[in-house]
């Protein structure tokens, strides 16, 4: 069975500080991977997708970057956090058209 793990569970960070969020998928070879951002009470905004190691496509510019250093790992990062980065970050992988979401990371920027 496939599992998706995100870390950390929650973060409280200061404006201007760096950030790194991680996502690992086990039990699925070469999955399509996605990062989403959800403002509190809001909809999901797709940030990035990756179909293979080392290849990441940006969907929307939010002063964030993503990387896929391993087949089963997807990293979201920024060097300087903004207040607007607060929210819920979700990693997902897809099988055909079904997306399976991780438990998410709740980020609070102060």
């Amino acid at each position: 069975a496939q599992t998706i793990h995100q870390w950390p569970v929650a973060e409280i960070k200061a404006v201007g500080s760096p950030l790194s969020l991680g996502c690992t998928i086990k039990g699925k070879s070469s999955p399509n991977l996605y990062w989403y951002w959800q403002a509190t009470g809001g909809t999901l905004q797709q940030l990035f997708y990756s179909i293979t190691v080392g290849q990441v496509e940006s969907v929307v510019q939010l002063n964030l970057s993503a990387s896929r250093p391993k087949d089963d790992q997807f990293i979201l990062s920024t060097e300087k956090l903004l207040l607007s980065h607060s929210g819920f970050y979700l990693c997902a992988w897809s099988l055909d058209w079904e997306q399976f979401f991780g438990p998410g990371t709740r980020l609070t920027v102060l």
Partner: protein, 113 residues
């Protein structure tokens, strides 16, 4: 441009009633449509999808949805509703190639016991 509209931000109904959550989309090609549910404080769970074929698709938790090309809709239905169905429901549209997904703003459903 692709977009998804869920016109009802909130829906409240009594347990045992029939529920129907509305979703419309805008896409120039054949749409790939999905419904997800999000319980408070949790991530999203897949309910069902329409890719091609039968216009009525059945999913998990007793939900089904009907794809209507004529009015670009993909409404979610369940009868009867149960208090445990209370959650936020998102309709989503996927483009060809598994690359991009567009989510509606969601409908918060409250089912009163």
């Amino acid at each position: 441009a692709q977009s998804v509209d869920q016109p009802d931000a909130h829906v409240t109904l009594s347990e045992g009633a029939s529920l129907e959550l509305r979703c419309s989309y805008s896409y120039s090609a054949a749409p790939y449509l999905f419904w997800y549910v999000q319980y408070p404080g949790q991530s999203l769970q897949f309910l069902l999808k329409y890719i091609t074929g039968d216009t009525v698709v059945k999913g998990t938790k007793g939900f089904e949805a009907e794809f209507r090309k004529s009015n670009s809709s993909f409404n979610l239905k369940k009868s009867p509703a149960h208090w445990s169905d209370s959650a936020k429901y998102f309709c989503a549209l996927g483009n060809t190639g598994y690359q991009n997904f567009y989510f509606g703003k969601g409908t918060s459903l409250t089912v009163i016991p």
